[in-house]
């Protein structure tokens, strides 16, 4: 008898977004009853792949086979009907509805097609929760009142309320404590014993060793290794597969080490409970300090707390020796801090406005007297700042929304340049910036540092931190696990540190 076809076989999947080829011919086979792990760095294409699998994105090319039959996943509902359920990292539950209502959302048991049989919904929800080992969750409670771990269980119950054959889990353990992770893995074990397949995305290698059967490694939109045995493949080999890059970034020359001057930015014992542990760091004028770590390691939270956008629970921030008022963005800006946030469009840019107005917004007092704006001076200064950064097009009166990602980032940098800031906080500066424009952005950041700015850089792309920074702090789950000059680190070592938490032997 011929071997049974795989439950799921994706082949040659490509998907492009403007400026980025997110998936470049990816193949993925999943057998019934296995835990198939997807590994890859941020931006490797994992999220795009599972979105294609869950019907949220349509692939440009490629075929998807389901139990030997070719299928098209036109929408999340189509995928659900086949028996593919996805549990996203950001839980997609409705907080103001009850557990039972969430579990049955969109497919409520009904009488005459529209009267919801609430009792039946509760009963079946209770049964699902018992099966998941959480009989203590009351189906009538509001989801908003549950803990993160319990919400995860509700998501699982929702997945199982369909006749599910394949569950996709995107970093399910990120928000859970160890006991809860144990329970989750027990559930995964039960499900696979029943023949359900699980696609599991995680950054934690020890988890993959514990529950994984096979591993597929993605890198730059390609599957560089398929179906490796999860338990026996050496860490070193996995890390090597994740890091061997095709795209080489060009980083600017590092100048000679900065002389021992007084630090411009000093952070002492800064902490936010539940987000990151007490942190000390210093950045000198002319120096770029990088924070490396994975999503969820607290990097953005650290930058935003230094900047005053979040109130610290302990510690202080000093600029030129003077303590900043905690939790005040205005105090930070006045002291000379500038932030280029991770979510440029949501956190930095006024999308309806021109480049000029986006650049001048933090320095308006410089072009105004008694509140009256000298628009000529404003335009001239904005133009000078954007020229200095070679922002394209060379016309600051165009709307900022028409710019490419890299030029939008330059507009944000120009804002702080014009303000005359001393310390630049960069959060994922090349997110949404296409590969060609990155080198230019790196050169800009280095030049600003050479001109005397202190730069604190956060990036989930390890090569970026290593290539650009002078000194690197490695973060793992809110703790600094290692500090070293960038020259003394390489990508393998940093990845070992962020994934295993201890220096690899």
């Amino acid at each position: 008898m011929a071997p049974e076809p795989p439950l799921l076989s994706m082949s040659g999947i490509t998907k492009s977004f403007p400026g980025v080829r997110a998936l470049d011919g990816v193949d993925l086979d999943v057998q019934a009853g296995e835990v198939h792990c997807l590994l890859g760095q941020n931006g490797a294409g994992k999220s795009t792949l599972i979105k294609v699998l869950s019907g949220a994105h349509q692939p440009d090319t490629g075929t998807i086979g389901w139990r030997g039959e070719p299928v098209t996943l036109r929408s999340p509902i189509a995928a659900m009907r086949l028996g593919i359920a996805t549990i996203y990292q950001e839980l997609d539950l409705v907080e103001h509805l009850s557990v039972a209502e969430n579990v049955h959302l969109g497919h409520e048991p009904t009488t005459a097609g529209f009267v919801v049989r609430a009792r039946a919904a509760k009963a079946s929800t209770a049964a699902l929760l018992r099966r998941l080992g959480h009989p203590e969750i009351d189906p009538a409670r509001l989801v908003g009142e549950l803990s993160a771990a319990q919400q995860q269980i509700v998501s699982m119950a929702r997945a199982l309320s369909h006749d599910v054959r394949l569950i996709v889990m995107d970093e399910p353990s990120a928000a859970l404590d160890p006991d809860e992770v144990d329970n989750l893995f027990r559930i995964v074990g039960d499900l696979t014993a029943e023949g359900v397949a699980v696609v599991h995305i995680s950054h934690r290698l020890e988890e993959i060793r514990r529950i994984g059967d096979r591993v597929t490694v993605l890198k730059d939109g390609r599957a560089v290794a398929r179906g490796l045995p999860a338990k026996s493949t050496p860490t070193r080999e996995v890390v090597a597969l994740m890091t061997g890059r095709n795209v080489e970034y060009v980083f600017p020359e590092r100048p000679a080490p900065v002389p021992d001057s007084a630090p411009v930015l000093e952070v002492q014992g800064l902490a936010r409970e539940g987000e990151f542990a007490p942190l000390d760091l210093e950045v000198r004028a002319g120096e770029i300090v990088g924070l490396a770590g994975l999503v969820g390691s607290g990097r953005s939270e650290i930058l935003e707390t230094i900047y005053g956008a979040r109130r610290p629970t302990a510690g202080q921030v000093r600029v030129d020796g003077r303590v900043l008022r905690p939790g005040s963005v205005r105090a930070a800006v006045r002291a000379g801090l500038g932030l280029a946030p991770e979510e440029r469009k949501a956190q930095a840019l006024l999308m309806l406005e021109s480049v000029t107005r986006n650049v001048s917004v933090s320095s308006m007092s410089r072009f105004s007297r008694a509140g009256w704006i000298d628009r000529g001076a404003e335009r001239g200064a904005a133009r000078a700042a954007t020229r200095e950064l070679s922002l394209r097009p060379d016309n600051p009166s165009v709307p900022v929304r028409t710019l490419s990602g890299g030029n939008q980032q330059k507009a944000v940098l120009a804002r702080w340049l014009l303000r005359g800031c001393r310390v630049l906080l960069l959060d994922e500066p090349t997110r949404g910036v296409d590969v060609g424009a990155r080198a230019e952005l790196y050169a800009v950041v280095r030049r600003l540092a050479d001109e005397g700015l202190a730069v604190l850089l956060v990036s989930s792309e390890v090569p970026e931190v290593l290539g650009l920074a002078d000194r690197v702090l490695v973060l793992r789950e809110g703790h600094v696990v290692h500090t070293a000059p960038a020259r003394e680190l390489d990508e393998h070592r940093v990845l070992d540190l962020v994934m295993e938490g201890s220096p690899a032997s």
């Binding site: 006045r334 009256w372 200064a381 133009r383």
Partner: protein
């Protein structure tokens, strides 16, 4: 104090700017499609008025009347435009106008004469705006709810003060302002006030840091905060400004009607919001136009006038207004998507 630390980048201010195109072209480009279409609608309405009632509509007195009627709601709309541009809403404007007009016309207030009435109207307006602003900016209340509460309580207080009676104004100076003798070159003083408020409003929105902050807060409050703008204080100021406009409008209404009534300003909130929206101010915030709002007010007032002259009932008027709001927004949506 950190500014001296910046490298000398401002020396390049003399870079030539784009201001070298002829002035008339700049003006034409600035008078965008939306403003032109609003002017077109207004011209069409004047044409309709002139054709259906040639003698009555184009009569100087009638035109003076239209402009006078537009003045009261127009001043309110200028304040509302700022609030909406910042992403907020002020549902209490009509009630504030009512409260300010009755408080300023009580017998006790009228004892203080012209200045007493004017001062009271403005202070009551600003006071209500202050309450709105504090609740919204520092009490973290949703503008819709906070100003809805103000609507209810200000109307209630206005009724309590008057006991439902009309308070007649007995101060000559105020009454004279409404008479033909005080018209300046044929323009009623009320219309002059409206014009001045409009010009100041336009300048503040387009030429000052206050206007920029308003637009920034409405366009992206989080980005504004991270850029170093004090978003809360700006919100407070905006509701104060709206309250101030209501106070001025209340005084204009006192002059116009020679009295103060607790039913004054009924549904002004809807008229002002509608005028701002058809003028091109985004209800979601981030873009506002005083010119558009004023044209919106003029369009609505002209329609009301034409309908009244043709003896059409107010029910037909209401339906026509509703249709115009829908049509204007649909036209703008298309204009926005093609540009």
């Amino acid at each position: 104090m950190t500014q001296h630390a910046s490298p000398p980048r401002d020396n390049t201010d003399k870079v030539p700017t784009t201001g070298q195109v002829p002035v008339w072209r700049g003006l034409f480009a600035r008078a965008d499609v939306r403003t032109l279409s609003l002017l077109g609608v207004l011209a069409a309405l004047v044409l309709i008025g002139g054709i259906t009632k040639p003698d009555e509509f184009l009569d100087t007195r009638n035109l003076q009347l239209v402009l006078t009627q537009a003045s009261v709601i127009g001043v309110v709309t200028v304040g509302m435009t700022f609030v909406i541009t910042s992403g907020g809403i002020d549902l209490s404007v009509g009630a504030i106008v009512a409260l300010a007009s009755v408080w300023a016309t009580t017998v006790a207030t009228q004892d203080y004469g012209f200045a007493g009435v004017l001062f009271t109207a403005v202070i009551v307006g600003v006071g209500c705006g202050l309450v709105n602003g504090l609740l919204i900016a520092y009490g973290n209340m949703v503008p819709f709810i906070a100003t809805l509460a103000m609507l209810a309580s200000a109307r209630g207080l206005a009724l309590q003060i008057t006991d439902g009676r009309t308070q007649i104004v007995t101060i000559d100076g105020i009454l004279k302002l409404g008479e033909r003798d005080s018209y300046v070159l044929g323009v009623p003083p009320l219309v002059l006030v409206f014009a001045v408020v409009t010009v100041i409003g336009w300048l503040i929105l387009n030429r000052t840091t206050f206007g920029r902050r308003t637009v920034a807060v409405g366009g992206n409050a989080e980005a504004a905060r991270l850029a170093g703008i004090d978003v809360r204080r700006q919100r407070l100021y905006l509701y104060l400004l709206s309250g101030l406009c209501c106070g001025i409008a209340a005084f204009l209404l006192i002059v116009l009607s020679g009295s103060g009534q607790n039913t004054n300003g009924n549904l002004y909130e809807l008229d002002a919001i509608a005028a701002a929206i058809i003028g091109g101010t985004l209800l979601s915030g981030g873009r506002g136009t005083i010119t558009g709002s004023v044209l919106g007010v003029l369009i609505f007032t002209t329609i009301t006038n034409i309908f009244a002259l043709n003896n059409l009932q107010s029910d037909v008027q209401q339906i026509a207004k509703g249709a115009i709001i829908v049509a204007a927004v649909l036209v703008q949506r298309r204009g926005a998507s093609t540009s």
